[in-house]
């Protein structure tokens, strides 16, 4: 015991920790830099970069670290690169860690909800903004535990640097054992030192998890979270974590949350309105649009002209191509033939007809102004309701913080959610989330708003509040909208024109009341009958 304590506190051993930590730090930081590059290459749209990264991963993940250490130390000098032992060990460890860290980063990035990425693109975020503001903050949270593991494994792997004469803890322990024959006291001591170090890493990991925890609420829970038993019991589950924290989802009061309507509630004469709309400029012009996935035809030559201020209801059975058409209009998907113009401009192509890079495309999207609302809301999970609206205004449109906040507050008021401005999406009901999503989409004053089955994912009692918000946008703002929906009554009330899509083609088109009450096409008749039967 005395010997054990003697070696535990021996400066010679403690100094060995220094080298151990140096190699670990070099390996981790270098691995992080290399890992970011590798992950970027793997996620890149350029095939050559991705395959290079794959080859690197195969080599460095598939060979033992001890060989890489010896290689960095003894083989690199043959080509004139003679690194000091610590740097050689750090280099080998970094090269070895890189593929693992890259995988962590990649899975973290891919783990971020695809819908949020789509929503970010639709809002006109460039790939860089999307990565920095939406993907990275959420990916990092999910990667902390994996990174903790990686750090512990790097620390232990640093002991292999003993084979290339790095005076780290393990090498010093064996040298001491050789000189004194006190084999066991020495190795128990160095084992305990390693345990101290890994425990410290675990502590840092827990702290970071706490720090990045979105739900960090009451002070008591903050402290409790640091305790291992708290984690072991799984008390992070919603039900148990409540305590004195506010209930996670406040009741949704539905339509009653909305402010009183501003405009006249009686409908304008439809015929008169239709006459006025006909004279308006064209907002969206889709011509002979064709698209297929592999050999499956999704859009088989769609022509559609939407005038400014017009509200189009896009009806049709599932798989008829409604969503695809909307995504094509916003350039979230590519098509095979035909053209789409928004505000007279060909989105997605330069003036010379060349396809734009993702960054330029994002800018074009923001300039032309096509807003999009998704079936699954796709709010940014790490941002409050207010930030979901204000953030994109600042990042995409360069609006100042004050103005963006003012605009967000105003829109939240309009959708009846001023009282939930600071709530995270997960603490909002589906109807509330969709109202925030609508506010987010109209915040930059888009020229067209596309709504992709905005109420299909909602519980029946939450549908009305969302429809009411959309109705007011049409009536009060005269916003140009294309809505794909299954809500026939809503379509007949709000839409100027109904477009019925089946098997990728428009089978019936015309004023809402005509098409819905008296369809001519047999496919349309069958579909509308089925829909009405379901409603009844």
């Amino acid at each position: 015991m005395e010997l054990f304590l003697h070696y535990l506190t021996m400066p010679y051993m403690i100094e060995g920790i220094q080298a151990t930590l140096q190699v670990t730090a070099l390996g981790l930081l270098g691995g992080l830099v290399l890992g970011v590059i590798l992950a970027w290459m793997q996620l890149s749209r350029f095939k050559a970069l991705a395959s290079f990264a794959r080859v690197y991963t195969v080599i460095f993940r598939g060979t033992p670290l001890i060989l890489q250490m010896v290689f960095a130390y003894n083989a690199l000098p043959q080509i004139g690169i003679k690194l000091p032992a610590i740097l050689a060990a750090g280099l080998a460890l970094a090269c070895n860690e890189a593929p693992f860290i890259a995988e962590m980063l990649r899975s973290g990035v891919l783990g971020v909800d695809r819908g949020q990425v789509l929503a970010g693109q639709a809002l006109g975020m460039t790939p860089g903004v999307l990565m920095r503001r939406i993907i990275a903050p959420q990916a990092i949270r999910s990667m902390i535990p994996a990174f903790g593991n990686e750090t512990v494994s790097a620390l232990k792997n640093s002991s292999l640097a003993s084979v290339i004469a790095v005076q780290e803890l393990t090498l010093r322990s064996t040298q001491m054992a050789s000189a004194t024959f006190d084999f066991f006291s020495i190795f128990f001591a160095s084992g305990l030192i390693y345990l101290f170090l890994t425990a410290a890493i675990a502590g840092i990991q827990l702290f970071l998890e706490w720090l990045f925890d979105l739900d960090r609420a009451s002070r008591q829970i903050k402290l409790l979270r640091l305790m291992p038993w708290y984690r072991a019991q799984g008390l992070d589950d919603r039900s148990a974590a409540a305590g004195d924290a506010p209930p996670e989802i406040l009741p949704d009061a539905g339509v009653a949350e909305l402010p009183p309507p501003r405009a006249l509630s009686e409908r304008v004469d439809r015929a008169k309105r239709s006459e006025i709309l006909k004279r308006n400029n064209v907002a969206v012009d889709v011509a002979a649009l064709r698209k297929s996935y592999d050999k499956q035809m999704v859009l088989a030559g769609v022509d559609l002209t939407v005038r400014i201020g017009e509200v189009i209801a896009l009806l049709g059975p599932s798989g008829s191509g409604k969503s695809t058409l909307l995504r094509c209009i916003n350039n979230l998907e590519l098509w095979n033939e035909g053209s789409i113009k928004v505000g007279g401009r060909r989105l997605g192509f330069s003036d010379r007809g060349k396809a734009l890079s993702p960054r330029l495309l994002a800018q074009a999207r923001a300039e032309v102004g096509v807003g999009m609302v998704f079936q699954q809301f796709n709010l940014f999970g790490h941002l409050t309701a207010k930030e979901n609206i204000a953030g994109p205004l600042r990042w995409v449109h360069g609006v100042s913080r004050i103005d963006a906040d003012r605009r967000a507050a105003e829109l939240l008021g309009r959708v009846g959610l001023s009282h939930r401005a600071d709530a995270l999406p997960r603490h909002l009901s589906g109807g509330q989330q969709q109202r925030v999503a609508i506010a987010r989409a109209i915040a930059p004053n888009p020229s067209v708003l596309l709504l992709d089955e905005p109420t299909s994912a909602l519980d029946p009692e939450l549908v009305n509040e969302v429809l009411e918000v959309i109705r007011r946008l049409a009536v009060e703002d005269g916003l140009t909208m294309i809505i794909s929906t299954h809500q026939l009554r809503f379509a007949s009330e709000v839409a100027d024109r109904v477009v019925l899509l089946a098997d990728g083609a428009i089978v019936e088109e015309g004023p809402a009341d005509e098409v819905l009450s008296n369809p001519r096409n047999p496919v349309a008749q069958r579909f509308l009958n089925a829909m009405e039967a379901e409603v009844a």
Partner: protein, 297 residues
């Protein structure tokens, strides 16, 4: 007295600081030195290239008596080889720092340029001389280490080892000698000896203590030290002579350095300093030989 408690406090702070900080650079061990023979002045005039330089000596510091860390001051390496290297350095006017590597890595460290010289109780064999030039300086006597009572009745590197497990260091010359027994054992209808390869002496000795290996053949002084450390558990079965000499390894592409080291070693031999060193480290004076060369193309 109050002041007595200060060093301990300081130590704790020191430990904490070291744990927290990442400071590059580990202090090189320093060694006490003996006086250089007079003829060294002439040698320094003849071989001026290394005067005032600091060279790197690659060692495998797991052989107490020849080279190991000093348990009292672990930042120092001590032993016969260490002192001998320092005397050569003093004679030619250079200083030495040390690089501790595994035994098997000694010559690769030298040939990759990570070290300038290897003085680490390494036996000069033809095979090794393909990788480095050797200046020989000592005879080799090996001891056969066995568990107390020599349960397998091992009597040397001979058929008494058939069926036994021998612990050896990776790269040691004893490895092929024991491997050569395979044929003889077969002829006598006995089981083959097995070899367990480890990284250093401590592990080989532990293998016997743990009952994993039956014997460990190495330099007799190392074996004697092991027996001294575990007198109740280990014993030396026998001492054997091995047909090799111990040598200092230098790069093949530096003949002038080789000649300078050999000349300096010869002066140390002639002056009686080498014999004095053997006595200082309790090594058998029988080891002493006049410096020679082992080189192969």
């Amino acid at each position: 007295m109050v002041t007595l408690s200060f060093p301990r406090t300081y130590k704790l702070i020191h430990i904490a600081a070291l744990g927290a900080l990442l400071v590059v650079g580990v202090g090189a061990p320093t060694i006490a030195r003996a006086a250089a023979p007079a003829a060294c002045a002439e040698l320094q005039a003849k071989y001026p290239d290394w005067k005032g330089k600091t060279l790197v000596n690659a060692i495998n510091p797991h052989t107490p008596g020849y080279e190991s860390i000093d348990p009292k001051d672990p930042n120092k390496y001590v032993g016969f080889d260490i002192d001998l290297g320092e005397q050569i350095g003093e004679c030619l006017g250079f200083k030495l720092t040390y690089k501790a590597v595994t035994f098997a890595a000694l010559l690769t460290t030298l040939s990759s340029g990570q070290a300038d010289i290897v003085i680490s109780d390494i036996y000069a064999t033809e095979e090794r001389a393909k990788a480095a030039d050797f200046i020989t300086y000592s005879k080799v006597f090996d001891g056969v280490l066995v568990a107390k009572g020599n349960p397998k009745k091992i009597t040397g590197i001979n058929t008494s080892m058939c069926g036994a497990a021998a612990a050896e260091n990776t790269g040691y010359v004893e490895v092929p000698l024991i491997q050569a027994l395979v044929g003889e054992c077969k002829k006598e209808g006995k089981a083959e000896p097995t070899i367990q390869l480890y990284d250093n002496n401590a592990n080989c000795i532990q293998a016997i203590l743990a009952g994993r290996a039956d014997t460990y053949v190495n330099d007799v002084n190392t074996v004697d030290n092991a027996v001294k450390a575990y007198p109740d558990k280990l014993e030396k079965a026998i001492a054997v002579t091995i047909p090799y000499k111990v040598g200092i390894a230098v790069p093949k592409d530096k003949p002038a350095f080789r000649d300078a080291v050999k000349a300096a070693l010869t002066e140390i031999y002639k002056s009686g300093d080498q014999l004095a060193l053997l006595k200082k480290w309790n090594l058998d004076p029988e080891n002493l030989i006049e410096p020679g060369l082992l080189m192969v193309k």
